[in-house]
Symmetry: C2
């Protein structure tokens, strides 16, 4: 079956200059993928070069662009013909099975939620990404900033969504789900995480209990659940540490002629390390909990990174992430309403 | 003036085997420091070697030890003759001006708060530490786990405490205070941080607004304020990233004979980088907001790291951190009670 992906060509720091070539290159490698490039024709057509639009490569006009710093509510109300909105609309209409955007995250979330709606039982969508870990694999973490305050129920739903994402993409039917906390003991944390732990224990997921910040990188769990405030702070701090280590290495290797020789000799090693840590390799955060696949590429993505986000979109459709979340939510034990009220 | 530090000799992973030699070595270098070594005499005396107790080196018997995993409430109630409790008591009694422990953080916080009490206007003490940043300096961050739920008022108080710590130790009277958030715009974050931002704006501190996780390592602010849940997760995730980068470097350098030669050539560089990132260098977290100086050493501290915590204790006393916090809190504009109720 051909999977069709709607591409918001206008998002990101570089816009169509990156998204269009990346999409074309990606499609050349994948005979099973159809693309709908969305944006002002005048901005996209000149970048098509030898490619001619056909059934597998369509263009869809959109006259507006959502600004990277535009308030989500404004984008939702005022930009009904934006490339982002039209791309999401294509998923809603069934013309595409997924959409990819490197644009404004808040706007993409607001538009996706408004147009596509959340899946049954899901209160709020969440943003999930993968981070490399010391086991040589990846840890999936969510939420990364869509929800600054979460109820215990939402955290449990994030666990279901993250587990189904990993089950689908990694073909691991019982991924380990951990709850980010400030200690591994049950008594740690605030009331919200304590109650979320109880819900996760009863969820039927392979819940392994509390994990701490360093467990994300140790690979203790396959899925780490937290609220969007914590997830965002952790993700950005992690990027900060990695940048600082890189900058320190550079500085120290440049400190003398002898050290610059050492740097030259070590270049293959430093490149390999950089490559393994390279966030471009796992570009493409999933907006989970929606009635459709929506992938957010990093705004600074280059062609290589944007193609990874497209790949991720196709994989999520092919492996039925949305269907898996739907089925798992329906299979959850029904929580009696009394203890829920008492605890929250 | 001689500054006297009470040392909980029984705390940490290694207990007196590390704390006693570290204390003796530190004192040899500092003629102006008196020490009171607290713990069971039988555990400490054999480690004194050539040193004989005198006015500058006293021993204080304590028959109990707080376990590293002991619940704080239990340590508080049942361990009234523990080395930790006796060391804190010495500060309360004025026999020592500071106390240092590598023991159970929760117990140290509970005991310190119970025995010493908080300063006027401080609702809850917080744990602060310094982290290296890309400007070649340090960023002070608090809280790191003492308070999992914080009110806006508490976050504002953390700002005052952190700023006074930096003012005292770095002799910078207007340290930049940032509030950790998921974006720099005022509209970002939950209600608690939005209200905390307002309070910080009115505090008279050099408040620079919201900062994000990577700003900790960029050195955008001198003090980064957050609740203890977020701070703990960020700190541990940061340690995790640093460990992963270190492990990846090691792995890649070991991959072939040629690469092992490159490692040998690069050894001075790798050592320099490791040294700059070394958390032992800035060991010693401050329990701020108490009527006395209490320093928490990392549990895994070796002699070098534990001596750093002792140094920090002496510096905080000498530079009057407690007095500065007290004065600054007294100088805060009195918040009218109505908006506080309305907003919280």
């Amino acid at each position: 079956m051909t999977i069709t992906v709607a591409v918001d060509c206008m998002g990101g720091d570089h816009g169509p200059a990156v998204t269009v070539p990346a999409a074309l290159e990606f499609q050349r490698e994948r005979a099973d993928v159809g693309l709908i490039l969305v944006g002002p024709g005048g901005a996209i057509a000149p970048l098509l070069r030898a490619e001619t639009p056909g059934p597998r490569l369509r263009l869809r006009e959109a006259t507006q662009v959502v600004g990277m710093d535009e308030p989500p509510a404004q984008a939702l109300r005022m930009k009904k013909d934006s490339s982002m909105r039209v791309a999401v609309n294509l998923v809603k209409a069934g013309e595409a099975q997924a959409c990819v955007s490197a644009g404004n995250t808040g706007a993409l979330m607001a538009i996706s939620r408004f147009v596509l709606k959340t899946l049954p039982g899901i209160d709020r969508p969440a943003i999930a990404t993968v981070l490399p870990n010391m086991r040589g694999g990846y840890t999936t973490m969510l939420d990364l900033g869509a929800n600054v305050d979460c109820t215990p129920e939402q955290l449990m739903q994030f666990g279901v969504m993250g587990a189904m994402l990993v089950a689908a993409l990694e073909h691991d039917e019982r991924p380990r789900v951990g709850l980010l906390n400030i200690g591994v003991e049950d008594i740690k944390g605030n009331d919200t995480v304590k109650r979320a732990a109880e819900l996760l224990k009863d969820s039927g997921l392979n819940y392994i209990g509390n994990v701490e910040g360093d467990d994300i990188y140790k690979g203790t769990a396959d899925v780490v659940v937290c609220d969007g405030f914590v997830g965002n702070a952790v993700l950005k701090a992690s990027e900060g540490v990695a940048q600082m280590v890189g900058a320190t290495l550079k500085e120290e290797f440049a400190r003398s002629a002898l050290r610059r020789v050492a740097a030259l000799v070590s270049l293959p090693v430093l490149r390999a390390v950089k490559d393994r840590m390279d966030h471009r390799r796992y570009n493409g955060a999933s907006l989970l909990g929606l009635r459709g696949v929506v992938i957010k590429s990093h705004g600074s993505a280059d062609e290589y990174a944007f193609a990874q986000a497209l790949r991720r979109a196709v994989e999520e459709v092919r492996n039925e992430v949305v269907e898996r979340i739907t089925r798992r939510m329906a299979a959850l034990p029904q929580a009696p309403s009394l203890p829920r009220f008492a605890a929250t």
